[in-house]
Symmetry: C3
Subunit: 435 residues, 3 copies
């Protein structure tokens, strides 16, 4: 064998699959679904993790899950266990949940409360700000505790949502956080609680889970429970919107203005989108009968008829904020064809289970809808895996949200890989400039 | 790093594993089992899928499973969901079961009936011949429905069996289909029904499942239920066959001739083999007591004592056709060491469950035999995975069927990969010339 | 594409990952945990299997499991099914458990008894020494049975333990076997029996399982049941050992000397270590109440208060030998992040279940301890998988056993791969020279 050739190793491959991936994105037709590799190739998936999930801001939870000093939540992002903890003075800190001694996870529960962060293995103990306090008494004289703090993860909050970024240089995010503060102000998110939480695993690539969420073209016929209250259109400029719909929206907006409830469309590039839409005439909340799911309204809200404020945060969250409860959805990839979807139903912290709300009633619509979406995404994945699959055309009206998501994905991938971003994508995706 | 070397990528690997595989086949000893890689290497398995399962004719079902217009069955071939449907005028069509919109599977059931082929995701609708009828009303003016027909798969029938070929240029098949028509004529396959169907997963390479089927050297001691009725030899020219066996065969053949029941050996190269053999003296059918499993004989058959007509179709089916019922076996690889075996017991469509046949009685012999074979194949796989494994010698008398199967496999692999086929294999495997 | 480049194939990769692995070992800091790849990379794991588990001596069982001619045990080492059988005249033989015909496993039970080794597939039969006796009567005239003996595996015993080595040239082992014979003499291992046997799977790399075992730094707070009887230190030279501990040890050693019970530290390089330590004051055996687990003492032992003789055999076994029972632990990797731990509790062969010992009582302490260790190893693995993990510092006092294990591992890996072994490792690891 030519001895020079032995220089080559696996490292050659990720870089060349990077090149192929970039090339695929640069050359694709924006109005067609992605090529097959993007939905099932393990190497392409690894690039998604590295360029999107390890570099972009991710929604991981809400502040009311960690109300007091020492309260923490944990979340797994790809291979990385992450810890978010309320520190001294109410600040929120995030760390890689990895002991600096031999690497054990520190906090092993989903949600908990601690005085210090103590590793269960050998009792190394850290302050809530990550500083190493104690490492046994046998590490030798030249051991420098200062060098063994927990590794930090960027963390920010906005409107009561907690976002982390595992990358070194997080994308600009201030404008959207301010917008969230403004739009969530009526809800007083610090004073909410999780009434119900579910986790489902979808045997589908995370982008198929998002694509499914980004259009309601499939709702009719797939989501009977959801369509009892949800209106399919989320924009009065939609060419399909009729006069009755426009009148309905206008009437509700007048009420909301009188009550200082934000409702105007807001966005940050293609990454974030906020829009408040009325629910179907005569319904107040996403329940089976359209009545309130919780009798105690959130925050300062007096009028239960606020429709649903939908908040999109790419790559991993959508949300429905109603007058009586708020539903957050969090998406985390588990593998090329496996995705975790976590749904939390939040109510006023003083709402009493069994009196003000019935958890079974609260969850019914989205339990059904999540499961229907899971089947749709899994069937989509099954077909895409075939050698017969080729990218198909999106409808520019029904599927504009999917086009927007994929545009955002393409721009972020190319940008984060340091590859040339075609002008089209660059123009579309001016994050944090406009809203 | 030498910049030229970065040109290399994973694509170099499949091609070089192709070369190694071809070389392994060209150099092996025909009378020894295959080298280890052929039974457990993921890349070699991928080549098996591409060269055999995506290019050869596969038995997927029988015509009576889809008796009327709109009846369909689905089957998964590797990564490819396949749809077989009875179209207008009774024709049988096959497609990749993949919507041309965003790639979702169209038909999600194992077996069903539809008026049109409607995608469950966004209701794109296709005619039973695959033509796109409806794609919503928002695809834009320049959308050309003609370009979005379902992708076809080659499909043929013979003797009531349905075969598909995923490749572009299917191998010649007419002679064998004619033979099947002739040999199955007495059974009237259109007027049968599936009385029982089972699916088992064997943790073994598909070739081990086939090798196991291709010899009865292992039957004694492994298959007590089967040997109540099955005679081990399937050829009066077998050097081990004694005079009593030959006399028994001759007597039965005389009866069959009188009733115009085909029984002469027929083959198409090594791919197909048909042979009718009597069952053990005094038994009529593969049941525990040797009595009929169904009281209603098939088709035009009057004499229940037809022995078993065995039909082999490489790479993926063997069958036993008796006077009262017919058993089909279908093999589909799920991975390098995992194989699905589907067994269907067919009876006359007018046979009444609980009156003419008892499904539990019908299935007992082959449920036991299938499970015994599963264990044998799995134990074979376990040993082959060891570094101690080396190809071992086949017995030219007891294991001629295995030698034939492996010869066929070698010839097809090399031919389909465009590699040089050694003279020995070429001579053996003149498919569709002789029978 | 440059045609020369097509010469390259996957074979280039193992060799370059070998080079990287060797380089990683040569350059690491001995007092820090290993880099991430060593704990989770599939290729690195394959090298562990090839260089350690397929070349070093492994403890697989004890002689009393196969007391008579024809008794056998089977064990799976990576991809290799291994068979250990008591042959004629009481000798112990080991083979690859792979038939020379088509590669099936021969003996499929965990433990059994046979007259001959007969393959369940086609009844090829071998003598207990591996010679082929019968291969059917149709293999042809030129078939030479002499060439189809079972493939042997090196096997040795010492002190009643059975060791196998899958490599061609096993490492020197005589001195340690003699030491075992001497130290186990009081226990008469041939006349013991397995009272309880458990198998647990830990979702962690095998080295994390060993590292966990090699220190008791984690015992306090993790192992309440174990610490009822176990003293944390196993050396009176431990700088942390106090005078009370030293006095306790001295008193027991005087008793043991009087009874000719071996207790002096013995080792073979870093691979093997034997040390007898008293249990906690007032306790006799590793049970919940510290009382004997079996009323019948082992072998020639008269004094139940022998503490625990701990026997380490790298890479895959530790043991606790008490006066009334003996516990063996065997570690076998199942994958990069999956390890099988088999625990056997041995008692005198004449001890009567329900009279002399209660199996539930006997197993309680180590069932609890094994499960606690499983969780610790799995949590360790989870954190190590993170991109935040970097090798952390070992305590030279608390974790000297871990440092020793990793030193042994590094020396063996480099030596067995034919790579340069840094002087430090070479000096430390003079196996079979000193004890």
């Amino acid at each position: 064998m030519n001895p020079e050739l032995t220089l080559l190793d696996e490292d050659a491959h990720p870089s060349s699959s990077r090149d192929r991936l970039a090339c695929d994105l640069q050359e694709r037709d924006r109005f067609y679904s992605l090529p097959q590799n993007f939905y099932n190739d393990p190497q392409y998936h690894q690039h998604d993790m590295e360029e999107i999930f390890y570099k972009e801001w991710l929604m991981v939870g809400v502040v009311s899950e960690i109300p007091k000093k020492g309260n923490y939540i944990t979340v797994q992002v790809g291979d990385n266990p992450i810890l978010v903890v309320r520190g001294a003075g109410g600040t929120i800190e995030a760390f890689f949940n990895v002991c600096r001694h031999r690497g054990s996870r520190l906090c092993t529960q989903h949600r908990g409360k601690v005085a210090k962060l103590v590793c269960p293995y050998h009792k190394w103990a850290y302050e809530l700000d990550g500083k190493l306090l104690y490492a046994g008494n046998e590490m030798g004289e030249d051991f420098d505790k200062e060098k063994f703090s927990l590794k930090k993860v960027h963390v920010r909050t906005g409107g009561g949502f907690i976002f982390v970024c595992l990358g070194k240089e997080p994308p600009a995010f201030d404008n959207f956080l301010s917008t969230l503060d403004e739009y969530l102000e009526p809800y007083d998110m610090e004073n909410t609680k999780v009434a119900v939480e579910t986790n489902i695993i979808e045997k589908a690539n995370w982008k198929l889970v998002l694509e499914n969420n980004r259009e309601c073209y499939h709702c009719d016929g797939s989501h009977p429970e959801l369509l009892r209250t949800l209106l399919e259109w989320d924009d009065t400029n939609d060419p399909r919107a009729d006069q009755a719909f426009k009148d309905h929206v206008a009437a509700k907006e007048a009420e909301w203005t009188a009550e200082s409830i934000p409702f105007k469309h807001a966005s940050s590039g293609l990454r974030n989108r906020i829009v408040r839409m009325p629910l179907a005439e005569g319904t107040l909340s996403m329940t089976m009968d359209g009545k309130q799911g919780s009798q105690k309204l959130m925050g300062r809200i007096k009028n239960p008829d606020l429709g649903s404020m939908r908040i999109l945060h790419l790559p991993n969250s959508w949300n429905h904020c109603m007058g009586d409860h708020l539903i957050t959805f969090r998406v985390l990839p588990l593998g090329p064809q496996e995705t975790l979807v976590t749904t939390k139903w939040l109510v006023h912290k003083d709402a009493v289970e069994g009196v003000d709300y019935d958890p079974e009633n609260l969850r019914k619509v989205w339990d059904a809808t999540n499961d229907q979406d899971r089947v749709l995404a899994e069937e989509n994945q099954q077909g895409i895996n075939s050698m017969a699959y080729q990218p198909g055309p999106y409808s520019k009206t029904y599927e504009f949200g999917v086009i927007n998501f994929i545009d955002w994905y393409c721009e972020r991938m190319l940008n984060n890989m340091g590859k040339e971003v075609p002008e089209t994508y660059r123009r579309l995706n001016n994050v944090d400039l406009d809203h």
